[in-house]
Structures are given as C-alpha cells and as structure tokens.
C-alpha cells in the first residue's frame, strides 16, 4: 500500500541525508582539528585572506552564471531557450566555481577551523558546512532521473544561497574592512 510513497520519500531523503552527513563531517573536522593558523602565501597578493576573498568573489561571479544558466535550462529565459551551449556552460561554470572554493575551504578548515566567537564567524562556519553538504546533495540528485522535479532547483538554490552567504560573511567583510586590495 505504502511502498510507492515510501520509495519516493527515500529517493528524496538519500541525497539530502548524504549531503547533511557531509556537512556534519566538515563541521566536526573543523572543530576537532587543531587550527594551525599557518598561511600559504601566494605571490602577487598581500595576504592569504586577500587571496581567499578574491577566489570567493570569482566563485560568486561563476555562481551568478550558474543561476542564469539554470533559469535558461528550466525555460524561464525566453531568449536563451533551446540553446545547446547552455548545458555545458552550466556544468563547467559550476565545476570552476567549486574548484575556486576548494583552496579557500582547505585553508578555512585546516588553519582556522569551525569557530563561533562572533556572529559573522559563526554564520560563516555554519554556511561553509551547509554549502558543501548542499553541493553533495545536488550532485547526487543529478545522478537520478526518478527524483521529484522540485528537488534539483531546491538543491541548486540552496548551494547558491549558501555561497552568497559565505561571500557576504567573508569577502565582503574583508573588502569593507581592509579596502579592495590584492
């Protein structure tokens, strides 16, 4: 009697629960790993923080490409409807955006850890875990064709919202505090 709704539920629950598990694992690693505070400096930039702020900004720009191309894929943008390059653009801008965030999160997790000593840092730490959890959930959602149609835009929207929040609590804070510097 209830097998069909149950499997439908589990099809939704599987990517979401794995995503949630990833978020929790990242948070635990950030909390339990002893922060080293070591900075890998990159030539041409004044500090690790500025490198991270610019990488986050690059990811944000790519995320905006993601938002527009996703709307086009779902047919919400008339002029772009049916263009064959939208799909590859969406996939590769997404991969580039995630690749840009990886050096940032590696430094966050390894050198700084999960912190909650002030609201900005707490929100940033939570969003960081949430972002990668949502990213995993979205990737897993893509692997199946039998998930409800609403799940993909919800997961994608969560990833996008997470990244915007991360940028606001890190790069925007950096640029407004220290100025727009390299």
């Amino acid at each position: 009697m209830s097998t069909a709704p149950l499997t439908a539920t589990s099809r939704v629950a599987m990517p979401l629960s794995i995503g949630a598990a990833v978020a929790v694992v990242l948070g635990l690693y950030g909390r339990l790993h002893d922060p080293t505070g070591v900075a890998v400096n990159i030539a041409g930039f004044s500090s690790t923080q500025s490198v991270k702020a610019w990488l986050a900004t690059l990811a944000l720009v790519l995320a905006l490409v993601q938002l527009v191309s996703a709307m086009a894929l779902f047919g919400h943008l008339r002029p772009l409807a049916g263009r064959s390059w939208i799909g590859p653009l969406h996939r590769w801008s997404g991969r580039a955006a995630v690749a840009a965030t990886l050096p940032v999160v590696a430094h966050c997790l390894y050198a700084l850890g999960f912190r909650y000593d002030e609201p900005r840092v707490l929100i940033h730490s939570l969003l960081g875990c949430f972002f990668y959890g949502a990213f995993v959930a979205k990737m897993l959602t893509l692997t199946r064709n039998d998930v409800p149609r609403w799940l993909l835009p919800v997961a994608g929207g969560a990833v996008f919202a997470g990244l915007v929040g991360l940028w606001l609590t890190s790069a925007l804070w950096f640029f407004t505090t220290f100025g727009i510097i390299r």
């Binding site: 070591v38 890998v40 500090s47 690749a99 505090t177």
Partner: protein
C-alpha cells in the same frame, strides 16, 4: 544530463580538497615549532639514560639537560613591552614561533589588537580595523611603526619578563586588554564597543573586577587568534 558526470565532479572536488589539505599540512610541518618540540622531548630522555654510570658527572650534566628544555620555550614565546617614541601609546608585542600578537592602547579610548606573522626578523601584523604594525627584531628589541587609526607611531620596545607582559580578558559583552610594564605600571582598555579605561589587573592572580564580577585574564603568548 549525464548520470555519471556529477559523481565524477564530486569525486574530483573531494580529491582536490584532500590534496589541498595535504599541501596545508606540509606547510605546517616545515615551519619549525613542531620539530623543535620534538628535539626538546627527546633530549632529556637520551641524556639521563647515558649518564647514570658516572655518578660524579650527573651533578654537572643536570644543568645542561635542563637548559635546552627551557631555552627553546623562552625563545618560542617572548613578550616585548614599551611606549611609542612620542609616548602617545603603550605597546606590547608577543612573538611565538612564526606568529605574533600585538596590542596598542592609550589607556583611555584608543586600542587595537593585531595579529600576524614573524618571518625571520620581520614582524607584520594587522588588526581587523585595518591598523597595522611593521617591525623588526634586532638586538633583542623590536623596532618599527604601528599605524593606529591612520596615525603612524614609531617605537622601540624591549623584552619583558612575567608578571610584566600582555593580558587579555573577556566578559560577555567586552574584551579587555592590559599591558603590564616591567616597572609594574599597567595600561589597559575595556572595550564593549566604546573603549574605556580598564579596571586594575592583579597580575599575580590574573584577575580584575568588572562591574562587581571577577574577570580572569590570560597571558597572551603570541600564537592566539582573535
């Protein structure tokens, strides 16, 4: 959309993250404090083991065993205190390994906490508000310039032994910094959004009384993050 390409993307992201974490961890081990600690712990165990046969020598070797264990820790954490050249503000710089924390305040309404790095003899620190300190360790002193609220102040400050040093305490609403100078005088600012003179700190117990309740101050060694 492909069924497998998202999984490939996921795997690539995971591999990339792990690789970057490994790069970060190699950075940590090459900076030194960890290796010097390893030397310290191994030295006392090997030296006493080789000594007992000659009872006469144990008395002479004991001080040399103690010395290496004490010297690296003192090298690792040094606090310099003093005033700026024009006596505008009091300053403390704590250096530990490759990291450094500094505190500047006038004891009334100007203060700045700065964190940064020590590379060789060069100190480079910044505060969240954009204040900066650039200094050099030379001849056992730190000389440099600290820029607070856009105003550059020159300084030359000397090492201070406990109880002189830099202390930091926190209440639910404020952060308090104290600089205790070698002559026993102290300067501090209590900042709950509006900086104000800090209540007196008892350096022996590390406590102060704020609004009737006791606040415990911790000695800043130089590797803290704020």
């Amino acid at each position: 959309m492909g069924q497998r390409s998202p999984l490939v993307t996921l795997a690539a992201a995971a591999v990339g993250l792990v690789a970057l974490l490994v790069v970060n961890s190699t950075q940590t081990t090459s900076t030194g404090p960890a290796t010097s600690e390893a030397v310290v712990t191994s030295a006392p165990t090997t030296v006493p083991g080789s000594n007992p046969p000659t009872a006469k020598e144990t008395g002479a070797t004991k001080p040399t065993v103690v010395k290496p264990t004490v010297a690296p820790t003192q090298q690792a954490a040094v606090v310099y205190t003093g005033r700026t050249a024009g006596r505008e503000a009091t300053l403390a710089v704590a250096v530990k390994g490759g990291r450094s924390v500094a505190y500047v305040c006038d004891g009334r309404r100007v203060e700045a906490w700065l964190t940064g790095t020590r590379t060789g003899d060069t100190l480079a620190l910044r505060s969240r508000a954009g204040d900066r300190l650039d200094g050099a360790v030379a001849g056992g002193k730190v000389t440099g310039t600290v820029t607070v609220h856009g105003r550059p102040l020159r300084f030359t400050i000397a090492p201070a032994d406990p109880p002189a040093g830099l202390y930091r305490g926190r209440t639910s609403s404020s952060t308090i910094g104290w600089i205790v100078l070698p002559d026993g005088s102290q300067v501090g600012v209590d900042n709950d959004g509006t900086p104000a003179p800090a209540p007196p700190l008892d350096p022996q117990t590390g406590t102060a009384t704020v609004d009737g309740s006791a606040v415990t101050a911790t000695s800043v060694t130089g590797d803290e993050t704020f």
